[in-house]
């Protein structure tokens, strides 16, 4: 009863019942599916693509183990010849996608799978699960980065992330979007992300005396100690830090910082800064946490609160204001014929598409075009070849390089999109070729 993260059975049942049917009728022509978002969440001006690296890893290792096939056989839903056909199934298709960290907008495909139908259909559920969540977090974290430029932002979200993988991937996605590090140790070690930590209230409470707690902790972390000073009385604790510092300094121990975690963070920070400065502790940093999101960060930033860094947890990595995106993975072409879904309110643009981005002379984004893949346009093409015939086209992009790309993307956002206020929508135009194709398909279809 253990979850295996790369299990091919981590999918919706219907992927496999559809595959059984495709097997029965011999349907396995080339299919193209595109992943896109239908609409921005309320109050958002842009999204940031993420999750591609995990998706490629998933596709590379995709296979049915003997145990998987036995489990499927026991359900009684699948034929033996079909299950045998799965033994050798691998992902042999193509992937085109926006690089991680790319800013994007509704109706723009961020990823396309082109593969034999059964492969392209099978991977839908987990591919969406990965792309959706990392994009959710990167998009939220990017707003925090824009709200508090140059500040140290640390992912503090493990405890209220939605399970282990959410914590793991949100450490990655927030760093990609510009965060400075994470408190989640395993993720930091695995991804090479700087790991930060302070102390808990329980540590202070366990000691009879707050000063004693501070001293013990600093002696155990002689270069790195950040002391949590709000357990009882924030300003009184700041005074204790001032009194303690000279005693520690004699032993060559310096206090790195103090952390605030409750009350009016800006007001406490100002008072604590005064106490520390008056006590000769100008180098001791102030770190704040507690229910932070981009709006609280912006407010503290605009108020010039003397806070050097922030622990941003729950509201960032659950993306509390928009915990999901209205995204879809839709068939756009099968057997060389463009396809279109027309469900009410959910119609999709048909055919394999490209996205081009135009820039102003100053490097700021001016507008995007969504076109048919075979159309040519001026502008920067946003989708790149990632896999061909099941193999990567290039070595994995390092997280550091993806982060640098994200930084450049945020810098190129139009000023209106960079604010936390709702802006006029960024212009995304649909090409005439695409409109014409959609019209032809609608006319041509027999009811």
């Amino acid at each position: 009863m253990q979850l295996t993260l790369d299990s091919v059975l981590l999918t919706d049942l219907y992927e496999l019942t559809m595959l059984q049917s495709y097997f029965d009728t011999g349907m396995n022509e080339t299919a193209s599916f595109e992943l896109f978002v239908r609409a921005l969440p309320t109050g958002r001006n842009f999204l940031m693509a993420a999750g591609l690296e995990e998706i490629v890893r998933y596709l590379e290792q995709l296979r049915f183990t003997r145990e998987d096939l036995t489990a499927l056989s026991k359900t009684g839903r699948f034929s033996t010849p079909f299950l045998r056909s799965l033994e050798h199934l691998r992902f042999t298709g193509d992937v085109d996608a926006m690089p991680e960290g790319t800013v994007f907008f509704p109706d723009e495909p961020i990823l396309r799978i082109t593969a034999p139908m059964r492969e392209a259909q099978l991977v839908e559920s987990r591919l969406m699960n990965l792309a959706h969540f990392e994009t959710v977090v990167a998009s939220k974290a990017a707003r925090c980065v824009l709200a508090a430029p140059e500040k140290l932002l640390v992912d503090f979200g493990l405890r209220r992330a939605h399970g282990a993988e959410a914590a793991w991937l949100s450490a990655r996605a927030s760093f990609l979007a510009g965060f400075s590090g994470t408190a989640t140790l395993a993720a930091g070690l695995a991804f090479g992300i700087p790991v930060y930590g302070t102390m808990a209230h329980s540590y202070v409470q366990a000691h009879e005396d707050e000063t004693q707690a501070f001293e013990q902790f600093a002696r155990s972390q002689p270069a790195n100690a950040t002391l949590l000073i709000d357990t009882y009385d924030t300003e009184a604790a700041a005074c204790k830090v001032v009194a303690l510092a000279p005693r520690l300094a004699k032993d060559g121990i310096s206090i790195h910082g103090v952390r605030l975690d409750s009350g009016d963070l800006g007001e406490h920070a100002r008072r604590v800064r005064r106490i520390l400065d008056a006590g000769g502790l100008k180098d001791v940093t102030i770190f704040a946490s507690g229910n932070l999101d981009e709006h609280r960060l912006r407010q503290l930033y605009d108020d010039h609160a003397p806070i050097d860094g922030f622990g941003v947890g729950t509201r960032m990595n659950t993306s509390a204001d928009a915990p999901y995106l209205d995204c879809a993975y839709k068939l756009v072409e099968y057997a060389d014929v463009p396809r279109r879904k027309r469900s009410e309110g959910k119609a999709t643009w048909p055919g394999r598409k490209a996205v081009y981005r135009l820039y102003r002379a100053n490097g700021v984004m001016a507008g995007d075009w969504v076109t048919l893949a075979r159309e040519t346009r001026d502008g920067e093409p946003l989708l790149e070849a990632v896999m061909r015939a099941g193999k990567r086209c290039a070595p994995p992009v390092t997280l550091q390089a993806a982060r640098e790309h994200a930084r450049r993307q945020l810098r190129a956002l139009p000023p209106a999109q960079r604010t936390l206020d709702l802006a006029e929508p960024y212009p995304v135009a649909i090409s005439d070729g695409l409109r014409e194709l959609a019209r032809r398909l609608d006319e041509g279809r027999r009811a």
Copy 2:
């Protein structure tokens, strides 16, 4: 760069830096930490405890592998004697908790860890990660169950769940709360939860002809086929199903149901029901999906929409209206001395506590008491002994038994708490003994 779900390093860095300090000073007396929720999310009347079984499994297998210790050593933050002490660390403590499926309210401890301080502190991050998320999902799913009693409710949420473990645990937590099954195959197989599935729009789109798609699918799933009928025109597709059924029946194939996924679900369901009934398909069920939550379910239920079952995904398993709980894992006693945090707006009740529940003669819940563990009260004690000295007190509760407990709990909820409207808060009283202890601690503490 793989996530290991039961890794002890899946924790916040500060747990380990605190442990280093506790090691340096030899502090390892018995500590009691309690997990509780500070406040209900806006619009909610109750919460449902879940996640205990995964927590016990986590505690049972807790250990540092050689690789973990090597990785920690490389960070340069920890002393060799300390790392050596971790080699033999196991969870040797006690766990008291509300059984999974228990309804609870703010300020009530749902779980208590009593263990040597280092063990009790170390487990904080992952323990909260597990308890928080499953409780979030069970609480949301329970509202869906109350909103549409007797309807088939299926977890459809893998694709927009926050990563793999979120999908996995939400299949479990929603079934616990009363859902009928899940579409997530691996979770269904692992937990013994019924697995449901239909077909995707892509399947219909890939075929030149909708009727052909329906027929192929039904022939591949001769007993189980649920046909998705909203790809182009819902009512036209229902007519195609009626025309197709006699042809399939000749071969002994029956269509199980149809699925609606867009538009006005209630209105489409009424029209489709009429078409199916007029076509002699009274036994073909109608299943609906698409942006459902407890409010949409209640509306369709109250409107008597002829819908037999619902696929409830994203909004349930991201708990979209309340994606996180204001929960905390707080030290309440150390070395036999009760402890209390007094941070602004975050003060906690000290000491090891019990929760008692009173019932009316008709079995409906009348009110809860939070008391000191050593006080005795009338009523049903809600916290049970789960582990003693690191061992389970009893074999694991089956998911089916926990689900039955949850069902009884929901039945005992006061009528006001069972509605989706915000009710008067359920009465939770704090005992005089607990108030007195808090007062004494506040008075006794030197500033």
